[in-house]
Symmetry: C2
Subunit: 329 residues, 2 copies
């Protein structure tokens, strides 16, 4: 527990939007301090006021620059913003070009913005859990808008962004693999698509490819707008913000936002429980000589993998023979 804050002071401080209290709270969450659990539990009834935007996309497309430009745009309206970045190559940590850093320094000093890069050390589940808890802290602190930036290239990696109210997928000319993944249904259709680096000679081609992919699917409740941006020069940011607001007002009708948040909460709780079960399993196998011995037997082909799986599940989770888990009925 922090020396500077008691738990009660921390709850009070976060609730009042105090920067030092927020920073300390997120550090507790990241270090998986038992006090963090109590803290978020106490803060939870105060959450739900923030609107969250997930910014996802493959590495190198300029997500962080786009986030920086969006912050600049939103601060002109006085909107308070919390930013969590789980991009391992994020400018908030080390991957920045000078221009990004300079732009972000302004935001770091702005009391209406709280920016935090989430350490992606360790397993994906742990980062997801810490990020979602940190988002609750920022929500409870009174920030009106949350930006969750994640690197998405597969399903598990973009899970974090998927809990947001609006999911923005950022692509750039050359993002052929992501376009193919959208086409093949490997990647979910986002709410807004931004094609960054619009000055690139292939930008128009990418736009047409993305349009063609969106035209392929069944009619949707919401057709994702495609916005061309040049984040490094702040171009297209107004249009991007309008597209996000368009989705937000779409959600505001007919109880759509509530329904979406219900699904998100269920998915989130399930994902966290799965990640914890997996971690528990990992530690059990690492710490139990009997389970190590099972793996040795499989390696020597004296025991087949599924029998080993069954015995491990029985031993670690007391799942009856693992057979009920395998049965699709």
């Amino acid at each position: 527990m922090a020396r500077e804050f008691t738990l009660a002071e921390l709850i009070e401080g976060v609730g009042a939007g105090d920067r030092r209290a927020i920073a300390r709270a997120i550090t507790l969450v990241e270090s998986r301090d038992p006090a963090a659990y109590e803290l978020v539990r106490s803060l939870y009834p105060r959450t739900g006021g923030a609107y969250s935007i997930g910014i996802t996309g493959p590495p190198g497309v300029g997500k962080s620059t786009l986030v920086g430009a969006l912050i600049g745009r939103l601060r002109r309206d006085g909107t308070t913003i919390g930013v969590l970045s789980v991009d391992p190559s994020s400018p908030f940590t080390h991957g920045a070009v000078l221009g990004d850093r300079i732009r972000l320094v302004d935001h770091f000093l702005d009391p209406g913005v709280f920016i935090r890069s989430m350490a992606s050390r360790g397993h994906l589940g742990g980062v997801a859990e810490a990020t979602l808890q940190a988002a609750l802290v920022l929500d409870a602190s009174g920030k009106e808008l949350l930006l969750l930036e994640t690197v998405g290239i597969g399903q598990s990696e973009i899970e974090i962004a998927q809990v947001a109210d609006t999911v923005v997928l950022v692509l750039m000319p050359g993002s052929g693999d992501s376009v193919q993944a959208l086409k093949a249904g490997v990647m979910e259709i986002p709410d807004v698509i931004a094609i960054n680096k619009r000055d690139h000679p292939q930008a128009k081609t990418m736009l047409n490819e993305v349009r063609a992919v969106l035209a392929l699917g069944a009619r949707r409740d919401w057709e994702p707008p495609i916005v061309l941006t040049e984040a490094a020069r702040g171009e297209g940011i107004d249009e991007l913000w309008k597209a996000i607001q368009g989705h937000r007002s779409h959600l505001s009708e007919g109880g759509r936002l509530e329904a979406r948040r219900r699904r998100s909460v269920a998915a989130e709780v399930f994902a966290l429980a799965s990640a914890r079960a997996k971690l528990h399993l990992e530690r059990a196998v690492a710490g139990d000589p009997e389970l190590r011995r099972l793996l040795d037997l499989v390696e020597r082909r004296e025991l087949d993998p599924l029998t080993a799986v069954r015995e491990i599940l029985e031993r670690v989770f007391r799942i009856e023979g693992g057979s009920d888990a395998a049965d699709p009925r």
Copy 2:
């Protein structure tokens, strides 16, 4: 259980390389028939003779065409081959251009080749389990080489291919996202890289980008060769095969193959156990009104997500408070 085969006949038939027995065995595995478990358990001591090659890469790069061309090349040497494809857009199922189908029809009729497309319906863990069990069936049937084709765009999707002895990543000009993912360390470095569609004007650029990424990392035990192919015309296939053989002979020295297979088996058992635990959790939550009620409380912000996670884990897996799972020590 099959009417045509008793379990004993099936074991016998697969061991003798009988096509109908192999087909029936894989169908049992896919349908999660309890007999499949007994079958693979009985066959397991006969496995380990096949050398396995994982072929992975984003959708649309031509993996299946490449697999078809590789089969053609290998059959000239008389090598017997088992092929499992878990690509949802695979030509083995529906996504084929005419040329692919014609080329593959030859292989379908060839008694030295067994090709099977694994249904990717349902969750990823289930497909992974069925595919790995089917690979054991093909291994036990005496096939000398196994080709495991999977669509890789994120970590979980390529797990199946990662258990292979040699992992080939297939890219094409335009695979910028995958190159960036390799660069950012989001995607693991494969053993061999094939750049397909080498006649594309941007093929040389892609080659240089991939070279630059490989040059970035620390010195490796094995430097992945990069091969340019034009699978649709069978070009570069000899070079690709030489690169794969190069990796195989590298593994044959100093017990490297055994060490790699030990790691693969452990990873495989762990992945299957995790997938089963996750499935068990999913069913428990779906079937238990008390657990549904917890989610409702979270949705109404009367209970925080982590407390719900703890209660779910306690109820489903009897994990003590979930806290030991959360504790990193």
